[in-house]
Amino acid sequence: MRKGRIIIEVDRCKGCLLCIAACKPKQIKISKKMNKTGYNIVEFCDEGKCNACTLCGIICPDAAIEVIEIIETEKK
Amino acid sequence: MTSDNKKAFIKGNHAVVEAALDAGCRFYAGYPITPQNEIPEFMSKRMPEVGGTFIQAESELISVNMVFGAVAAGARAMTTSSSPGISLMQEGISYMAGCELPGVLVNVMRGGPGLGNIQPSQSDYFQAVKPGHGDFRMITLAPSSIQEMYDLTFDAFDLADKYRNPVMILADGLLGQLMENVELKRDRKPLYLNTPKPWALTGAKGRDGQRILSLLMQPGVLEKHNFKLKEKYDLITKTEKRFELSGMENNPDYLIAAFGTVGRISKGTIRLLKQDGINTGLFRPITVWPYPYEALKEAAKNVKKIFVFEMNLGQMVEDVRLAVEDSSKIEFYGRPGGGVPTAEELYNFIKGKVG
């Protein structure tokens, strides 16, 4: 399985929750934090289940999500 | 058109086309309306010859907004129409003023209100010198001969670029249709034609994107923009006033104030009065905005009466009242609805007032 993580640009996020609906492994959740504009934003759960599918980024209307793929270069 | 390269015996509407092309206009959009139809007709032939774009717009809303687009893209562009069409263009003119875009417009005025008629008229003085919505000004030039139709149309492009502001030629059906000898100044170099327009939209090559806009929503920003426009209008007012003043050397008892076609007719009136030994001066504003108030004030100082003649119910007369100190000296005579006064008619009016 591919692995990844996302970075949410706090001041672009409006907490519309479309990313939460798009994320199959449920790695995004509503946060208690608010951004400058007063939107209740979302945050990444970081439970190691993100598969770098980019669907959250694609659906995010506000271009607030950067998706990073983590590539294992050495087997443990 | 009978013409060599330099001299032509042409209609005013044709002179407008030749002047625009000589001034480097390479985009024209217009919608048919009498009495200016020769302009789009002639333009449809001439513009492609010089490699420019001619579009028969499907309405005046379309033509004025095409001019908006063309000048935003950095071209010299023009549209022409007559009174009802100019009414439709007012929103677009206001946008150009707000965005500081140098569009050129020609209004070959006809009678109104409403559909009115297609006779010559000066019924749009108000909508030229007090145009559209919002706090803005439009440089307005009023020709009175076919030579001036040519010269002032040429000037309009230079003025528009110089100030980044819409400019209107305020002509009328008579000037559009009349034929006269015109000296075409093919060698005249347009000013500012090759001056870079860094504000124009040409693609953001090597730079960030830039905008052309009049929407300024943040508090105070529009107010500041308006004050900046005001500075420009003040500069235009200071530097660009033009007028013809004649007959003042004889210390005339009377002064006629008239623009455009009526200014020209008034010259005949002045000759008739001269035969009776009555000296009369002529004040003919060429820029009706900015209006040459000071020159009129000076000329009106020592005359007994100022006769204001217009082909409307009294529009420019309001500016004359602002200019002269003693407005009880003003006598107005106007012919609305497409009526064109004769020199004799104006002569009789004056005689009736002065005995």
Binding site: D11, K14, G15, C16, L17, L18, A21, A22, T37, Y39, T54, L55, G57, I59, C60, P61, D62, A63, A64, I65, E66, V67, I68, E69, I70, I71, E72, T73 | F27, A29, T53, I55, A57, E58, S59, L61, I62, N65, V67, F68, G69, A70, A72, A73, A75, E91, Y95, C99, L201, G203, A204, K205, G206, D208, G209, R211, I212, L213, S214, L215
Partner: protein, 248 residues
């Protein structure tokens, strides 16, 4: 050991300014897609956009390329003139359904009929967003808006206009497709379609328009997810998604 690679991020043709549109607004998604396409086609320095009057009047704050405003409804003719002055540039207009289908209906029809080689992005959110959710020509039958409090009744308000189908009859029109952006799959599809509409212009194919069924959660009084469900449901039932015209 592991390395990291960014595989999705904000396109560089967007400025750093966060969108000021409401949460979940369709305008945001389409702005982003256009910027992604501009990046991918490498046309940031040669594209010129025309923004409408409507919520997207602020588009010029968000795209980092040349953009002009246009009076309400007149964007297609402003774009036409820019394209005629700069035939080598990519010129597009972006319009809402009040702008394009109501006050600007004459402009879009004649621009289409002249077959201007421009790209039009038409945002159909079935109401007038900016002015507070009034009825648009595209509002559905029965739709409650601030000027149809009892729902759109065809006797009084007429029928919703299918603009893309209307434009399909003009020979000057080369490409028309209707898309939605309600989930990642449809967003990917919409991007392909919009990209094609730009490619058509670059390849000289001619007038291309993409109609996007977009949400206006604020005025629909729905959250973004419910709004997308409405598009997937009744809106796309009336406005069918897919190719309407594609002249090869």
């Amino acid at each position: 050991m592991s390395t990291e690679k960014t595989i999705y991020k904000k396109p560089t043709s967007l400025t750093d300014r966060p969108f000021t549109y409401c949460w979940g607004c369709g305008h945001s998604t389409i702005h982003k897609l256009i910027a992604e396409i501009v990046d991918e086609l490498g046309i940031r320095e040669t594209i010129i956009g025309v923004a409408p009057v409507g919520c997207a009047v602020f588009a010029y704050d968000f795209w980092n390329f040349d953009v002009t405003e246009a009076a309400h409804g007149r964007a297609p003719v402003v774009a036409t003139a820019i394209k005629r002055v700069h035939p080598g540039k990519t010129v597009f207009c972006y319009q809402g359904d009040g702008d394009l289908a109501s006050i600007g209906m004459a402009e879009i029809i004649h621009t289409a009929n002249r077959g201007e080689n421009i790209t039009v992005i038409f945002i159909n959110n079935t109401n007038y967003g900016m002015t507070g959710g009034q009825l648009a020509p595209t509002s559905l039958i029965g739709q409650v808006t601030t000027t149809s409090p009892n729902g759109r009744d065809v006797k009084n308000y007429g029928y919703p206009i299918r603009v893309s189908e209307l434009l399909a009859q003009f020979e000057g029109v080369k490409y028309l497709e209707r898309v939605k952006v309600t989930d990642a799959v449809s967003v990917i599809k919409a991007k392909k379609v919009i990209k094609k509409a730009f490619m058509n212009q670059i390849n000289g194919v001619g007038f291309s328009m993409v109609e996007v069924l977009a949400s206006c959660p604020a005025n629909w009084r729905k959250d973004p997810i419910e709004s997308n469900e409405m598009i997937d449901g009744e809106i796309s039932k009336y406005y069918q998604v897919g190719v309407i015209k594609d002249v090869k």
